[in-house]
C-alpha cells in the first residue's frame, strides 16, 4: 500500500500547532492526529497563564496563602522547571512574569522602569520562592506576588505529550510543531534517513544558518525579536536575565536538539540569557544534546557556538526544508 500524508492543525497557546503524518491508512492517521491535538488543547486549558479556569491560574491565585495541591502532571512539569532552573544557574525561570511586566515587555515595546520597581519585581522573582512538596504534591509561594508562567516550557511539554499519544496509536512517521519554533520528529519521511529542519539565518533570508537532521528527537529554536528599545545608544531586546532583573545582550538565536521537547523549549529560551563571552553557553552540551547559539559581536559579525549541529552547506536540496519562524523571546 502506498504511503499517504495527513495534515492537521490547531490554534492553541497563542500559536498554530501542526501535525504531518505519513502512513498507509489515512483514516487511522487522522484519528491519531486528532487525539494528539485534543491533548494539546487540554493542556492549554490546564496550563494557561491567562485562562481563568486553568489549574495554573488557580495556583497563582492562592499559593501565596498556603500550599495548593496540584495535578500530578502539573507537579511533574514544575519539578522539571525547577531542575532546568538549577542546571542553568537561574537563567531559565518560570517566575519571571512580574519582571517582564515591570519592564513593559507584556504587550508593549518596553521602557526603563524606576529602580524601586525593578527591586520590587526582583523580590518576587526566582524559583527559590516556590516550595514544592513531592509527598503532598503541593505548591506554595514563599512570598506574596510570585507568579508562575509556563509560556517558555508549556509548548514543548504539550508537543512531547502529544508525541507520546501518536506513538501509542501506532504512528511511526510524523512531524509535529508549535509555531514552527519547537518541533518533534517521529521516525523519518518515507525513503529518508531523517526529517530535515532549517534554522533561518538571523541576517540572511536567502540561506539557512543550519539544517538539523531530526529523527525521534525534538528541536527548539529561540531568537530575539525585532522589538525592543534604545537607551544610551544600546538596543535592548525583550530578553530579561532573571538573575539580575535587567535586559541582557546574550545570544540572538539559540537552538537545542534533544529527545525531550520540554527540555529543548526551556533551554533554547535560557540560552538567550546566557552571556556569550563568559563561556556560560557551553554548559548544556553533552548528554546527547545538540546546541547552536549565535551572538552578535560589537563589530556586527556573528559569533557561532555549536555542539553537534553543523552549519548549512548548500548540497542539501531546499525542497526538504522546513524553515522555522523563531518564537519571540520573552
Amino acid at each position: 500500500m502506498a504511503m499517504q500524508t495527513v495534515r492537521l492543525a490547531l490554534e492553541a497557546m497563542a500559536t498554530r500547532f501542526e501535525v504531518v503524518l505519513y502512513g498507509e491508512h489515512p483514516t487511522r492517521l487522522r484519528a491519531a492526529g486528532e487525539e494528539a491535538l485534543r491533548e494539546i488543547r487540554q493542556l492549554e486549558a490546564d496550563l494557561s497563564f491567562y485562562r481563568a479556569a486553568s489549574d495554573l491560574r488557580r495556583l497563582n491565585a492562592s499559593a501565596a496563602h498556603g500550599p495548593v495541591r496540584v495535578s500530578p502532571r502539573l507537579f511533574d512539569l514544575l519539578q522539571d522547571a525547577t531542575r532546568i532552573w538549577k542546571s542553568t544557574g537561574g537563567a531559565f525561570d518560570v517566575t519571571v512574569a512580574p519582571l517582564m511586566r515591570c519592564w513593559g515587555f507584556v504587550g508593549g515595546t518596553g521602557h526603563w522602569p524606576a529602580q524601586e520597581a525593578i527591586e520590587r519585581a526582583r523580590s518576587v522573582t526566582g524559583m527559590h520562592l516556590v516550595a514544592l512538596d513531592a509527598e503532598a504534591r503541593t505548591v506554595r509561594f514563599r512570598r506574596n506576588g510570585v507568579q508562575l508562567d509556563l509560556g517558555a516550557i508549556g509548548k514543548g511539554y504539550a508537543l512531547e505529550e502529544a508525541s507520546h499519544i501518536l506513538r501509542a496509536s501506532g504512528v511511526e512517521r510524523a512531524l509535529l510543531h508549535g509555531g514552527t519554533s519547537t518541533i518533534v520528529a517521529i521516525g523519518a519521511p518515507p525513503g529518508e534517513e531523517s526529517w530535515k529542519i532549517a534554522i533561518a539565518h538571523p541576517s540572511d533570508s536567502t540561506t539557512p544558518l543550519a539544517v538539523v537532521p531530526l529523527r525521534d528527537e525534538a528541536l527548539s529554536v529561540s531568537a530575539v525579536s525585532g522589538k525592543g528599545f534604545v537607551r544610551d545608544g544600546k538596543t535592548y531586546g525583550h530578553v530579561l536575565d532573571p538573575r539580575t532583573g535587567h535586559p541582557v545582550r546574550g545570544a540572538i538565536l539559540a537552538a537545542v536538539a534533544h529527545r525531550s521537547a520540554t527540555i529543548c523549549d526551556a533551554l533554547s529560551t535560557a540560552f538567550l540569557v546566557l552571556e556569550c563571552e563568559s563561556g556560560e553557553l557551553n554548559m548544556a552540551s553533552g548528554d546527547s544534546m545538540r546546541t547552536l547559539a549565535a551572538c552578535r559581536c560589537e563589530d556586527g559579525t556573528l559569533e557561532i557556538h555549536r555542539s553537534g549541529i553543523d552549519l548549512y552547506f548548500p548540497e542539501v536540496t531546499s525542497s526538504t526544508l522546513l524553515t522555522p519562524h523563531h518564537h519571540e523571546a520573552r
Binding site: T27, A31, E34, D46, A52, A53, S71, P72, S169
Partner: protein, 431 residues
Amino acid sequence: MKHDEHAHAADLSRRNFLKRSSMASLFGLSGAVEIIPPAPRREAAARPTAQAPVNCAIIGFGARGRELAATLGRVPDANLMAVCDTYDIMLRRAQRQTPDASRHADYREVLDNADVQAVFIATPTHLHREIAMAALDAGKHVFCEAPMASNIEDARAMAQAARAAENQIFQVGQVYRSNPQHRSVFQFMRSGAIGKPSMGRGQWHSKQSWRRTSPNRDREQALNWRLDANVSTGLIGEVGLSQLDVAFWVLAELPRAVSGFGQIMAWDDGRTVPDTIQAVFEFPSGLHMMYDATLASSFDDAYEIYFGTDSAIIFRDKGKAWMFKEVDSPLLGWEVYARKDRFYKETGIALLANATKLDAQNQDPTEDDPSIESPLWYALQEFMENHAFGPFPPSSDYQKGFEAAVVAIKANEAITQNTRVEIDPSLFSID
C-alpha cells in the same frame, strides 16, 4: 450477600435520615413544580467537613474518565482511590495522571473493594447497564455518564434499580442541571422575561472524524463504538443529549414526536453512523425545537437559543447566556446597567449569575471569572454534598436521565431512518 457486605457505604446517619425524610415529603408535595435548591456556593468548598473523604472509583478511563479524574481532584471530600479500564494504554495514562489510585482491568475488582463508596461510570454507553446494575447491587453510590444507556430497555432497567436502591445516590451526568449559571438563567426564563416561548434551536459543530485508533485491531474496533450503528446513539445521543436536556428542563416539557435526518457528508470511510444530522422536536405546548450537529464544520461551535415574543436567550460556552430584547418588549429595569456584548448587528445583554459579586470585586465581567468552576465540577460537588447530607434526589436523577435517554434513542431512530417518530408519553414511565 454482596449487598449486606457493602451496605455501610450507603449507611445513613440519623441526621441524614431526618434531612432525607423532610426533603422527600417536600418533593412529594411539589408535583409538577420543579424546586431548584439554591445554587451551591463555592465558598462552601473551604468549609471544614464533618465527613471523611468519599472513596471514589472511575470505571472507563477514556477522555471523559480522565476529565472526571481531573475534576474530582479539585472537589472537596472526593478521594479517587481506584481507576478501571480494559485497555492497558488507558491504565498507563492513569498511572501518570492519578498515581495514588489503584489500577484495575476488571470492574468487578473495584466493586468487590468494600472501601470504594462511589463509582463514576464513563465507559462506552452500551456498557453502562451491566456496570451500573452491578455497582448498585454492590451497595455503591453511582454517577453514570449520559446518555444513561443506548436502548430503552437498558435505561429502564437501570432506572428501576436506582429507584429500588433508595439509600444510594444515582446521579446521571446531565451536568448543566447542577450548574449555577444555568440555574440562574432558568429562573430568569421561567419568570417570563422571554415572553411567550415560540421556538428553540440548538447546534453542535466540530470538525473531527470521531474515530479512534490503536495498533491493536480488536481494540480499535472497541474504541470506535460511537461509529457502530448497533450500539451508538449517534451525535444526537452522545453530544446532543446534554444540550437537549437543558431544553426539557427550561421548557418543562418532553417532546411527543421527533423528525430526523442523517447524512454522511465529510467522513465517507465506511461508517454507517451519520456525521451530520438534523432533528425537529415537537413539544405538547406546540413549540418546536430544531437541533443540528455535524462533524464536517466547526463554524460557530455549540449553542442553544430560545425565541420568545419579548426576547431571545442564547446559551453558549458551557453556561454563558445573553438576552436579545425585542424593541417593543417591556422594560425590565436592570438591563439598563447590565453588561452588553455585540453580536454582529445585535446587542446581547449578558445574563450573569454573579454580576453583582463581580462588580463588588472590581473584576471585569468580560473576563472569565476564576472562581467559576466547570459544570462537571458543580455536578460532582452536588454528588459529594449529597453524600454528606442526603441522599436527596439529585438534580439529574434516574428519572431525568431516563427521560433524556428515551428522547435521544427515539431521535436517533428518526435520524437513522430519515423519518418522523412519535414518542408515546407512556414511554417516559419506568414501570
